[in-house]
Structures are given as structure tokens and as C-alpha cells.
Assembly symmetry: C2
């Protein structure tokens, strides 16, 4: 029996390649031709999986969201505490190419979503999931005695997610200002202030 390539697997594989191109060259660099060069598939094959460039970028956005959700679940499954909260924030900061692609494609879609209600709903769903996961991690850390029980998890999660998202954007603009050491210094400060008084 000939080996069958699963359509969804292939789409996912190409979406990963699109994200790699975005990490290296930005969203504007992610054309059918650039992705074809990066994958060794022809633009004809790509157009079998994606109707057009917009469709390909949207698949990459969803793939980046999926990757982030997988990371977030892994953190939630680990030990509760301030460190888990720090890790979910750090996961948004572009210190490697996966997270740089995430930062870049999200800024691109933040601007696109302003004029497109369906895209806006998709982005909002992503942000809400991130906040919800953060609420759970804060509550678990509070039960473990690692975060001040007087802090309300909902506004705190909104604050921390806003901070991580802003930092993700700012670090993608000025990587020299936001290297691993500086990001560590920033997040350590944030997280230590959550400790019980």
C-alpha cells in the first residue's frame, strides 16, 4: 500500500516553515516563493494547500496559537507556584525563533484585526485563553502559598498577560535592549512582588 500523506499534517508542516520564514524575514518576507524555497516544495504544491498568501498567513497565525497553547498546557501540568506563572509570561517573549515568529505574526494580525470582526474574534479568543490559563496558574500558586492570597486572580492575570504581550512586541522591536538577561531581570521583579507579604 502506498504511503499516504495526511493533508492536515502537511499543512501543519508548511505552516511551521512559514513561521520560520517570518522569524527570519518578517511577515512581509513570507511570500509563496520564499516559503517554497524554504520547504523545497513548489509554489504549485503550496497553492494546493493554501488558496492564497492571506490563507497561508492565517494558517501560520493559527499554528503559532496552537504552539503557544501546547506550551501553556505543559506549564499548567507542571508544579504550581510563582515559577509556573513566570514561565507562562516568558513563553511570549521572543528569545528564540519560535517566539519571534509568534510576536511578529501577532503584531501583523493585531493591525489586520482592527478592520476585520472575524479576525478580531479569533485574536480575542486567543487572548482570553491565555488570560484563563494565567488565572488558573495564579490560583494554583495561591493554594501552594506562593502568591499573596489577597491578590485577585482576574485583574492580575489581565495585567500580567498585557505585560507579557507588550514586552513581546517591544522586545521584537528592540532585541538589543531586551536580551535574555534583561528579560529575566524584568520578570523576576514582576514575579517576586507577587509573594505573600
Amino acid at each position: 500500500m502506498p504511503k499516504r500523506v495526511d493533508h492536515d499534517d502537511r499543512r501543519r508542516e508548511i505552516s511551521d516553515a512559514v513561521l520560520a520564514v517570518i522569524a527570519g524575514q518578517g511577515v512581509n518576507g513570507a511570500t509563496f516563493r520564499a516559503v517554497a524555497e524554504a520547504t523545497n516544495w513548489s509554489t504549485g504544491v503550496l497553492s494546493h494547500y493554501f488558496r492564497n498568501r492571506d490563507d497561508m498567513l492565517l494558517a501560520a497565525l493559527r499554528r503559532a496559537g496552537e504552539q503557544a497553547a501546547t506550551e501553556q498546557r505543559a506549564i499548567s501540568d507542571g508544579p504550581p507556584g510563582r515559577e509556573a506563572v513566570r514561565r507562562i509570561l516568558l513563553d511570549a517573549v521572543p528569545l528564540d525563533s519560535r517566539r519571534l515568529a509568534l510576536a511578529r505574526i501577532f503584531v501583523f494580525y493585531y493591525a489586520e484585526a482592527a478592520a476585520d470582526p472575524l479576525l478580531q474574534a479569533e485574536i480575542n479568543g486567543y487572548l482570553e485563553r491565555w488570560r484563563r490559563q494565567t488565572v488558573h496558574l495564579i490560583e494554583a500558586a495561591q493554594r501552594a502559598g506562593e502568591i499573596d492570597p489577597a491578590l485577585h486572580p482576574v485583574p492580575l492575570a489581565a495585567e500580567l498577560v498585557a505585560m507579557a504581550d507588550g514586552l513581546s512586541i517591544h522586545a521584537s522591536f528592540q532585541p538589543a535592549l531586551f536580551g535574555a538577561d534583561e528579560v529575566d531581570r524584568i520578570l523576576t521583579g514582576t514575579i517576586e512582588r507577587l509573594a505573600p507579604r
Copy 2:
């Protein structure tokens, strides 16, 4: 002697009108025609002040940056303390039309800047000024005994500006989730945790 209209004043006045259109209709709605309707000037007059739509939007971005800088200076000139830090953060959150236009035009230019080094330098200059003002306010509040002297002003300013910027974007996407009361709850939490222990 006939009254002379100052070219820069007129450009500023039109830029304010562009920002008002952006607050109401988004950046995509800010066309020459929409701005002409809002100002009662013809598109011909507008094209005397702006070479094209991009030029008009860039003028609106700079005007929004100017307005924010003016607010930031007024806060810096007021009494030092945690309240001043709270105010400089709150100034970025889109709770009125001036700040909604600011949030919208900045998200638009964040995406544009990804492909344009000159625009990127302009955006970075704006973010750096904002962080610098925040460092000064933190130091002044520390001297006034209102912020924990153990906190390092530079990473703390980077954190707070990232948070305010992220919150600005998230609130412009989901205004119902981020009304004045909720934003107050979020920022009060942030600011109270800076108090000396």
C-alpha cells in the same frame, strides 16, 4: 493686512481631525474623503498639506505622540508619588477618544514598522521616551518614600510601559472587558504592589 493661517497650525488641526476619524472608524476609515467630510475642507486642500494618505497617517501618528508627550510632561511636573506613576500608565489606556485613536494608530504602525527601519526607529524613539519619563517618575516616588527603594527603576519602567502598552491594545480590542472600573482595578493592583514593604 490679511489674516495668515500658519501652515504648521493647520497641519496640526487636520491631524487632530484625522485622529478623531481614527477613534470613530479605525485607521482604515481614515481616508482623504472621510477627513474632508469631518473637517469641511476639500480633499484638494488636504492634498496641499499631505502628499498622500500615508503622509496624512504619519502626521496623525506624530500628533498622537506629541499629545502623549504633553500629557507625560504635565504628570512629571505634578507631585511625585505612586499616583503619578499610575497616571502615566493610565494615559495609554483607551478610555476616551484621544486615547482610543492613540491605541489604534500605534497598533497600525507597529505592524507597518516591521517592514520599515525608519518607521521602526521612530516608534522606538517614542517607546524610549515613555520609558525614560517612567524611570524619572519611579525615582521621584522612591525619593518621596512611596515606592520600595529596593526596586530597580529601569527594568520596572520597562515592565510598566510594556503592561500599559499591552493593556492599551487589549482594551481597544475588547472595550467591554476593559471599562474604566476594571482598568482602575488592574492599575491599582499594579501600583499598590510597588509600595515599600
